[in-house]
Symmetry: C2
């Protein structure tokens, strides 16, 4: 059988062999998502199976829709205390800062850094970075399969959840034949897509759906329908009781409309605001748009934090979008 990541798989084995017998802390990023949690669970379990004392630490709690995927894996938030004598392995964490303040201080040196973000700052002693992988879960799945390591049912499901969530359920361009093949192997080891989907997508809060309703009701089409802006204002927060987490995925609705090339989410906070851009095509370079407003990101997905109120900011946004589409037209002529 061909190996998925021959170089990374050898590097993983070598790095793990070198710390045999030492306790390990598997670290994830702040505001952890499915791929972060799944990857932490998987690394900790595979190491424990190999005889390591491995535990997981996060700055923030496991999101409720991922809680069941942790199983009996030892998982702690850093405010409950961390054992800084452990060897640190980080997953899905593009930069040391993403560990959050407590873990950064507790682990000034990260031993092994496994990630699929191409922007990873290579902050560890050993860095296993594969930007072509759809998820850190895909890298880990490939490495475990390559090395014939024991993937138990909880590990298989955790890795599957990482892949399914980070590919938007196999909808993003990062989804490759290997993505599907690795999922196939994970199912042979106990991954259950329907059970994962039930936890991930069928446990929404009424507040989140109420927030979506208000977001949809706020849609404004700009630039001849090429941009769609949805707004969560102060009143929407108050009326729905929704939390900041509940805005996840909203901006995708703005982008999903026929003819819309850039979707925008604006969130009003106390005295200030933040926003997100999502483009259908990388030609829009929404990271460049976001830079104008104290933000950044990727060609198709970016965020910004203008030091401004919503009322002050909105006309600036309209101007920026109009200028953007006009310049695009000139370039293409």
């Amino acid at each position: 059988m061909a190996l998925y990541f021959p170089k990374h798989s050898a590097a993983f084995t070598k790095a793990i062999e070198a710390i045999r017998g030492r306790p390990v802390a598997v670290l994830g990023h702040v505001r952890p998502d499915g791929d972060c949690i799944g990857s932490q669970v998987a690394v900790a379990r595979v190491l424990r199976e190999l005889g390591f004392d491995a535990v997981c630490y996060n700055h923030h709690r496991v999101p409720s829709n991922c809680a069941s995927f942790v199983g009996d894996t030892p998982f702690f938030v850093d405010e409950d205390g961390v054992d800084s004598s452990r060897v640190a392995i980080s997953v899905d964490c593009a930069d040391r800062k993403r560990l959050g303040p407590v873990l950064q201080e507790a682990y000034p040196e990260v031993y092994l850094n496994i990630d699929h973000h191409i922007s990873n700052s290579l902050y560890a002693e050993h860095n296993i970075i594969e930007g072509t992988a759809s998820a850190t879960g895909e890298i880990l799945g490939g490495i475990f399969l390559d090395n014939d390591l024991t993937v138990d049912e909880v590990t298989a499901q955790a890795l599957y959840v990482g892949i399914a969530t980070d590919t938007g359920q196999f909808r993003f361009a990062s989804t490759t034949r290997d993505t599907f093949e690795i999922c196939c192997h994970l199912m042979e080891r106990g991954a259950d897509p329907a059970a994962a989907a039930m936890e991930l997508y069928e446990r929404e809060s009424p507040a989140k759906l109420a927030l979506l309703q208000r977001f949809l009701a706020s849609f404004r089409y700009l630039c001849d329908g090429r941009a769609c802006v949805g707004i969560i204002d102060k009143e929407a927060w108050a009326a729905t009781g929704a939390t900041k987490e509940d805005t996840e995925g909203l901006v995708d609705y703005a982008r999903s409309i026929e003819g819309v090339e850039i979707g925008v989410l604006l969130e009003e906070m106390d005295g200030t605001m933040k926003g997100s851009f999502r483009a259908k095509d990388p030609v829009h370079r929404v990271d460049q748009l976001a830079i104008q407003f104290n933000g950044g990101g990727h060609a198709c997905a970016a965020g910004f934090n203008p030091e401004s109120t919503l009322d002050e900011f909105y006309p600036r946004l309209v101007d920026a979008l109009e200028t953007h589409f006009a310049s695009l037209k000139e370039t293409s002529q």
Copy 2:
């Protein structure tokens, strides 16, 4: 290599060999979806590659989000005329009636019937039915791979679309290891999940999103939050300009809420109404609930057409749901 569907693959070859040289009509069901269109495209193209004169006929037009997957495959609606001398092959069509009136009359005898609905009425001379498959596209993909038939890029994408849509993007329990493995082979032959997703999910009409907004705004929680009912009333149709097609998927939002076990969609029409149930667990047997209101379906998904106005019907629905949850409680005690 192990075969996916050894019996069906042999039956397919034998059935096709017996009609070599004869023109073929590949038929789909009324209100075709991604799996229907994808399966028709795939069968017609594979037969054409084998030297057959094969065309596709449907009662209704290809939905706009599937139009691009047809490629240069000959595809016609039956109102433009059908050649009834062709040998009829139906796909994804559980019953002859689902062909619609014109195709039923033009093809009183169907030669080959390929489907994944376990309820298929076996109406053809040869019936290739595999209820364990997630989609008709999965059966066809398996058969074509088993028989080493030429799957071109358009065919690969069409089959992929069938699988991706009929599994709800790999979220339904019908998703198996073979589902993923077949997708992996389809990607090797040119299937492109991200391009498919762009067509399927990023071309929504503003009217559909406006309908979703009104549906969410109408939510009523019943039976201690175990049921959620959303209503599209006459005013919602008028205000949004949405079409009947635009209600697809709405009921899933009602079911997706934490604690909700049954989601309900009620649609008010001129003078009458229709409805849908979606359950999280087959224990609810919503087909049995639907039977009370002139409907039917499956354990987790059913529809109904009470001969009643919305105002008359609503209290009956509330009663039925309360009785249902009460009886469930008694059964489990």
